[in-house]
Protein backbone atom coordinates (compact mmCIF):
# COMPACT_ATOMS: atom_id res chain seq x y z
CA UNK A 1 0.00 0.00 0.00
CA UNK A 2 1.43 3.39 -0.98
CA UNK A 3 1.84 5.67 1.98
CA UNK A 4 0.62 9.20 2.24
CA UNK A 5 2.25 11.99 4.25
CA UNK A 6 -0.36 14.16 5.91
CA UNK A 7 0.17 17.89 5.91
CA UNK A 8 -0.09 19.73 9.22
CA UNK A 9 -3.50 21.11 8.18
CA UNK A 10 -4.77 17.67 7.12
CA UNK A 11 -3.76 16.15 10.42
CA UNK A 12 -5.54 18.91 12.32
CA UNK A 13 -8.56 18.42 10.07
CA UNK A 14 -8.67 14.72 11.01
CA UNK A 15 -8.33 15.47 14.73
CA UNK A 16 -11.10 18.07 14.46
CA UNK A 17 -13.55 15.80 12.59
CA UNK A 18 -12.85 12.27 13.87
CA UNK A 19 -15.59 12.60 16.49
CA UNK A 20 -18.05 13.77 13.84
CA UNK A 21 -19.13 16.64 11.60
CA UNK A 22 -20.80 19.72 13.10
CA UNK A 23 -24.59 19.65 12.83
CA UNK A 24 -24.95 23.19 11.48
CA UNK A 25 -25.90 24.44 8.02
CA UNK A 26 -22.27 25.23 7.07
CA UNK A 27 -20.31 22.46 8.78
CA UNK A 28 -17.11 22.90 6.78
CA UNK A 29 -17.09 26.65 7.48
CA UNK A 30 -17.35 25.91 11.20
CA UNK A 31 -14.42 23.49 10.97
CA UNK A 32 -12.45 26.16 9.07
CA UNK A 33 -13.07 28.58 11.89
CA UNK A 34 -11.68 26.07 14.40
CA UNK A 35 -8.62 25.42 12.22
CA UNK A 36 -8.13 29.09 11.33
CA UNK A 37 -8.17 28.43 7.61
CA UNK A 38 -10.71 28.99 4.82
CA UNK A 39 -13.81 26.93 4.14
CA UNK A 40 -12.43 26.22 0.65
CA UNK A 41 -9.25 24.78 2.18
CA UNK A 42 -11.32 22.45 4.33
CA UNK A 43 -13.44 21.34 1.37
CA UNK A 44 -10.42 20.86 -0.91
CA UNK A 45 -8.49 18.89 1.69
CA UNK A 46 -11.47 16.72 2.61
CA UNK A 47 -11.96 15.89 -1.09
CA UNK A 48 -8.27 15.12 -1.48
CA UNK A 49 -8.25 12.87 1.59
CA UNK A 50 -11.26 11.02 0.20
CA UNK A 51 -9.58 10.54 -3.19
CA UNK A 52 -6.45 9.24 -1.46
CA UNK A 53 -8.45 6.79 0.64
CA UNK A 54 -7.49 8.44 3.94
CA UNK A 55 -11.23 9.02 4.27
CA UNK A 56 -12.90 5.64 3.74
CA UNK A 57 -16.33 7.20 3.65
CA UNK A 58 -18.27 10.13 5.07
CA UNK A 59 -21.74 9.61 6.35
CA UNK A 60 -24.19 8.14 8.80
CA UNK A 61 -22.94 5.07 10.63
CA UNK A 62 -25.96 3.12 11.83
CA UNK A 63 -25.89 1.00 14.95
CA UNK A 64 -26.57 -2.32 13.23
CA UNK A 65 -28.03 -3.76 16.44
CA UNK A 66 -30.64 -1.02 16.44
CA UNK A 67 -31.50 -1.75 12.82
CA UNK A 68 -32.39 -5.28 13.80
CA UNK A 69 -29.09 -6.93 12.82
CA UNK A 70 -28.73 -8.27 16.34
CA UNK A 71 -27.01 -11.52 15.42
CA UNK A 72 -23.38 -10.88 14.53
CA UNK A 73 -20.89 -13.66 14.20
CA UNK A 74 -17.19 -13.67 13.61
CA UNK A 75 -16.78 -16.91 11.68
CA UNK A 76 -13.29 -18.38 11.76
CA UNK A 77 -11.88 -21.12 9.59
CA UNK A 78 -8.80 -23.28 9.38
CA UNK A 79 -8.26 -23.89 5.67
CA UNK A 80 -5.40 -25.32 3.62
CA UNK A 81 -2.73 -22.60 3.44
CA UNK A 82 -2.17 -23.02 -0.28
CA UNK A 83 -5.82 -22.23 -1.03
CA UNK A 84 -6.32 -19.59 1.70
CA UNK A 85 -6.02 -16.48 -0.50
CA UNK A 86 -8.22 -17.85 -3.28
CA UNK A 87 -10.87 -18.99 -0.80
CA UNK A 88 -10.66 -15.71 1.12
CA UNK A 89 -11.42 -13.81 -2.05
CA UNK A 90 -14.47 -15.98 -2.72
CA UNK A 91 -15.75 -15.74 0.86
CA UNK A 92 -15.14 -11.97 0.91
CA UNK A 93 -17.20 -11.62 -2.27
CA UNK A 94 -20.30 -13.18 -0.66
CA UNK A 95 -22.91 -10.48 -0.35
CA UNK A 96 -23.60 -11.09 3.36
CA UNK A 97 -19.92 -11.01 4.44
CA UNK A 98 -19.01 -7.53 5.71
CA UNK A 99 -15.30 -8.09 6.40
CA UNK A 100 -12.95 -10.91 5.44
CA UNK A 101 -9.31 -11.26 6.43
CA UNK A 102 -6.43 -13.67 6.78
CA UNK A 103 -4.81 -13.41 10.21
CA UNK A 104 -2.19 -15.43 12.10
CA UNK A 105 -3.06 -18.59 14.04
CA UNK A 106 -2.14 -18.91 17.73
CA UNK A 107 -1.62 -22.63 18.19
CA UNK A 108 -2.76 -24.65 20.01
CA UNK A 109 -5.47 -22.33 21.35
CA UNK A 110 -6.41 -20.79 18.01
CA UNK A 111 -6.01 -22.83 14.81
CA UNK A 112 -8.06 -20.48 12.59
CA UNK A 113 -6.65 -17.97 10.10
CA UNK A 114 -9.54 -17.02 7.79
CA UNK A 115 -11.97 -14.58 9.45
CA UNK A 116 -15.34 -13.57 7.96
CA UNK A 117 -17.93 -11.36 9.70
CA UNK A 118 -21.60 -12.10 9.06
CA UNK A 119 -24.73 -10.34 10.31
CA UNK A 120 -28.40 -11.21 10.39
CA UNK A 121 -31.73 -10.37 11.90
CA UNK A 122 -32.20 -13.90 13.21
CA UNK A 123 -29.79 -16.57 14.34
CA UNK A 124 -31.25 -18.91 11.73
CA UNK A 125 -30.33 -16.43 9.00
CA UNK A 126 -26.73 -16.27 10.29
CA UNK A 127 -26.50 -20.06 10.57
CA UNK A 128 -27.64 -20.35 6.96
CA UNK A 129 -24.89 -17.90 5.92
CA UNK A 130 -22.34 -19.97 7.85
CA UNK A 131 -23.53 -23.11 6.05
CA UNK A 132 -23.02 -21.36 2.72
CA UNK A 133 -19.45 -20.41 3.65
CA UNK A 134 -18.75 -23.98 4.77
CA UNK A 135 -20.06 -25.33 1.48
CA UNK A 136 -17.89 -22.91 -0.45
CA UNK A 137 -14.78 -23.99 1.49
CA UNK A 138 -15.59 -27.66 1.00
CA UNK A 139 -12.79 -30.14 1.69
CA UNK A 140 -10.24 -27.36 2.11
CA UNK A 141 -11.68 -26.55 5.55
CA UNK A 142 -10.27 -28.58 8.42
CA UNK A 143 -12.09 -27.00 11.35
CA UNK A 144 -14.18 -23.92 12.10
CA UNK A 145 -15.86 -21.96 14.84
CA UNK A 146 -18.27 -19.05 15.17
CA UNK A 147 -18.06 -16.35 17.82
CA UNK A 148 -21.29 -14.44 18.30
CA UNK A 149 -20.92 -10.99 19.82
CA UNK A 150 -22.83 -10.73 23.08
CA UNK A 151 -22.23 -7.03 23.75
CA UNK A 152 -20.66 -3.91 22.24
CA UNK A 153 -18.19 -2.73 24.88
CA UNK A 154 -16.79 0.22 22.91
CA UNK A 155 -17.35 1.67 19.45
CA UNK A 156 -15.66 5.03 19.06
CA UNK A 157 -13.54 4.40 16.00
CA UNK A 158 -10.02 5.64 15.44
CA UNK A 159 -8.74 8.58 17.47
CA UNK A 160 -5.58 10.49 16.60
CA UNK A 161 -4.15 12.36 19.52
CA UNK A 162 -4.09 16.10 19.06
CA UNK A 163 -0.55 17.45 18.95
CA UNK A 164 1.15 20.23 17.12
Amino acid sequence: MSQIELTELQRRLIVETQKGLPLVANPYAQIAEQLECTEQQVIDNMQLLQEQGVVRRIGLVPNHYRLGYVHNAMTVWDVDDEYAVELGERVGALEFVSHCYLRPRHLPLWPYHLFAMVHGKTEAEVELQITQIRELLGDHCRQADRLYSSKILKKTGMRLKSKS
Binding site: I14, N26, E39, L49, V54, E95, C100, R103, L109, M158
Partner: protein, 147 residues
Protein backbone atom coordinates in the same frame (compact mmCIF):
# COMPACT_ATOMS: atom_id res chain seq x y z
CA UNK B 1 -37.58 5.81 12.66
CA UNK B 2 -39.82 6.81 9.75
CA UNK B 3 -39.36 6.62 5.99
CA UNK B 4 -37.29 9.83 5.81
CA UNK B 5 -34.88 8.55 8.48
CA UNK B 6 -34.63 5.27 6.61
CA UNK B 7 -33.98 7.12 3.37
CA UNK B 8 -31.20 9.15 5.01
CA UNK B 9 -29.57 6.00 6.37
CA UNK B 10 -29.84 4.06 3.13
CA UNK B 11 -28.53 6.88 0.95
CA UNK B 12 -25.84 8.42 3.13
CA UNK B 13 -23.74 5.69 4.73
CA UNK B 14 -20.91 6.66 2.43
CA UNK B 15 -21.34 9.63 0.21
CA UNK B 16 -22.14 12.58 2.42
CA UNK B 17 -21.44 15.65 0.25
CA UNK B 18 -18.36 17.83 0.66
CA UNK B 19 -19.75 21.27 -0.22
CA UNK B 20 -20.78 24.48 1.54
CA UNK B 21 -24.37 23.37 2.34
CA UNK B 22 -24.31 19.57 2.48
CA UNK B 23 -27.50 19.21 4.55
CA UNK B 24 -29.39 21.26 1.99
CA UNK B 25 -28.39 18.74 -0.67
CA UNK B 26 -29.66 15.87 1.53
CA UNK B 27 -32.85 17.81 2.19
CA UNK B 28 -33.57 18.08 -1.51
CA UNK B 29 -32.90 14.37 -2.00
CA UNK B 30 -35.15 13.11 0.79
CA UNK B 31 -37.81 15.83 0.58
CA UNK B 32 -37.70 17.86 3.79
CA UNK B 33 -36.05 21.07 4.98
CA UNK B 34 -32.34 21.53 5.66
CA UNK B 35 -33.10 22.24 9.29
CA UNK B 36 -35.13 19.06 9.58
CA UNK B 37 -32.27 16.96 8.17
CA UNK B 38 -29.95 18.37 10.83
CA UNK B 39 -32.53 17.67 13.53
CA UNK B 40 -33.14 14.13 12.32
CA UNK B 41 -29.43 13.22 12.25
CA UNK B 42 -28.99 14.80 15.65
CA UNK B 43 -31.95 12.86 17.08
CA UNK B 44 -30.72 9.55 15.60
CA UNK B 45 -27.29 10.13 17.19
CA UNK B 46 -28.92 10.89 20.50
CA UNK B 47 -31.20 7.85 20.59
CA UNK B 48 -28.46 5.48 19.44
CA UNK B 49 -29.81 4.68 15.95
CA UNK B 50 -26.51 6.05 14.64
CA UNK B 51 -23.24 5.31 16.41
CA UNK B 52 -21.37 8.02 14.50
CA UNK B 53 -21.75 10.63 11.85
CA UNK B 54 -18.89 12.06 9.82
CA UNK B 55 -15.72 10.92 8.06
CA UNK B 56 -14.29 7.48 8.81
CA UNK B 57 -10.54 7.57 8.48
CA UNK B 58 -8.19 4.77 7.52
CA UNK B 59 -4.94 5.08 9.49
CA UNK B 60 -3.28 2.48 7.29
CA UNK B 61 -3.25 4.82 4.29
CA UNK B 62 -0.96 7.20 6.15
CA UNK B 63 1.32 4.67 7.78
CA UNK B 64 -0.73 3.46 10.74
CA UNK B 65 -2.20 0.08 11.56
CA UNK B 66 -5.44 -1.52 12.72
CA UNK B 67 -4.90 -4.75 14.66
CA UNK B 68 -7.50 -7.11 16.03
CA UNK B 69 -6.60 -8.52 19.45
CA UNK B 70 -8.23 -10.82 21.96
CA UNK B 71 -8.01 -11.62 25.67
CA UNK B 72 -9.27 -14.56 27.73
CA UNK B 73 -10.85 -12.63 30.60
CA UNK B 74 -11.92 -14.43 33.79
CA UNK B 75 -15.70 -13.91 34.14
CA UNK B 76 -15.39 -12.31 37.57
CA UNK B 77 -12.99 -9.68 36.19
CA UNK B 78 -14.91 -8.91 33.01
CA UNK B 79 -16.26 -5.45 33.93
CA UNK B 80 -12.97 -4.33 35.45
CA UNK B 81 -10.93 -5.48 32.43
CA UNK B 82 -13.45 -3.87 30.07
CA UNK B 83 -12.89 -0.56 31.81
CA UNK B 84 -9.11 -0.88 31.57
CA UNK B 85 -9.07 -1.91 27.89
CA UNK B 86 -11.60 0.77 26.88
CA UNK B 87 -9.55 3.45 28.66
CA UNK B 88 -6.87 3.11 25.95
CA UNK B 89 -7.49 5.76 23.30
CA UNK B 90 -5.93 3.38 20.75
CA UNK B 91 -8.78 0.88 21.29
CA UNK B 92 -11.33 1.80 18.61
CA UNK B 93 -13.90 -0.99 19.10
CA UNK B 94 -14.37 -3.69 21.69
CA UNK B 95 -16.81 -6.62 21.68
CA UNK B 96 -17.70 -9.38 24.14
CA UNK B 97 -17.86 -12.73 22.32
CA UNK B 98 -18.91 -16.21 23.37
CA UNK B 99 -15.60 -18.10 23.36
CA UNK B 100 -12.71 -18.90 25.67
CA UNK B 101 -11.20 -15.75 24.13
CA UNK B 102 -14.15 -13.65 25.25
CA UNK B 103 -12.98 -10.08 24.60
CA UNK B 104 -12.10 -8.91 21.07
CA UNK B 105 -10.97 -5.38 20.28
CA UNK B 106 -9.36 -3.34 17.52
CA UNK B 107 -6.21 -1.33 18.22
CA UNK B 108 -5.72 1.66 15.87
CA UNK B 109 -2.22 3.18 15.86
CA UNK B 110 -1.03 6.15 13.88
CA UNK B 111 2.39 4.55 13.44
CA UNK B 112 2.41 0.84 12.62
CA UNK B 113 5.21 -0.15 15.00
CA UNK B 114 3.37 1.33 18.00
CA UNK B 115 0.98 -1.63 18.04
CA UNK B 116 3.35 -3.97 19.91
CA UNK B 117 3.88 -1.34 22.55
CA UNK B 118 0.12 -0.85 23.03
CA UNK B 119 -0.32 -4.63 23.32
CA UNK B 120 2.34 -4.69 26.03
CA UNK B 121 0.77 -1.78 27.89
CA UNK B 122 -2.63 -3.52 27.87
CA UNK B 123 -0.98 -6.72 29.15
CA UNK B 124 0.69 -4.78 31.96
CA UNK B 125 -2.49 -2.91 32.88
CA UNK B 126 -4.69 -6.03 32.93
CA UNK B 127 -2.19 -8.70 33.96
CA UNK B 128 -3.64 -10.84 31.13
CA UNK B 129 -2.15 -12.18 27.91
CA UNK B 130 -3.17 -10.29 24.76
CA UNK B 131 -3.31 -12.31 21.54
CA UNK B 132 -2.68 -10.03 18.54
CA UNK B 133 -4.29 -10.86 15.20
CA UNK B 134 -2.75 -8.40 12.72
CA UNK B 135 -4.29 -8.82 9.29
CA UNK B 136 -2.12 -10.58 6.76
CA UNK B 137 -4.52 -10.04 3.90
CA UNK B 138 -7.74 -8.09 3.51
CA UNK B 139 -10.43 -9.13 1.07
CA UNK B 140 -13.43 -7.14 -0.08
CA UNK B 141 -15.12 -5.05 2.61
CA UNK B 142 -18.80 -4.20 2.46
CA UNK B 143 -20.10 -2.23 5.41
CA UNK B 144 -23.52 -1.10 4.27
CA UNK B 145 -26.64 -2.03 6.15
CA UNK B 146 -30.01 -1.46 4.50
CA UNK B 147 -33.07 -0.65 6.56
Amino acid sequence: MDSIDRDLINRYQGDFPICARPYLQLAEEVGCSEEEVIQRISAMLEDGTLTRFGPLYDVEVFGGQFTLAAIEVPEDRFDEVTEIVNSFSEVAHNYARNHQLNMWFVIACEVANQTDEVVQRIEQATGLKVYPFPKEKEFYINLRFDV
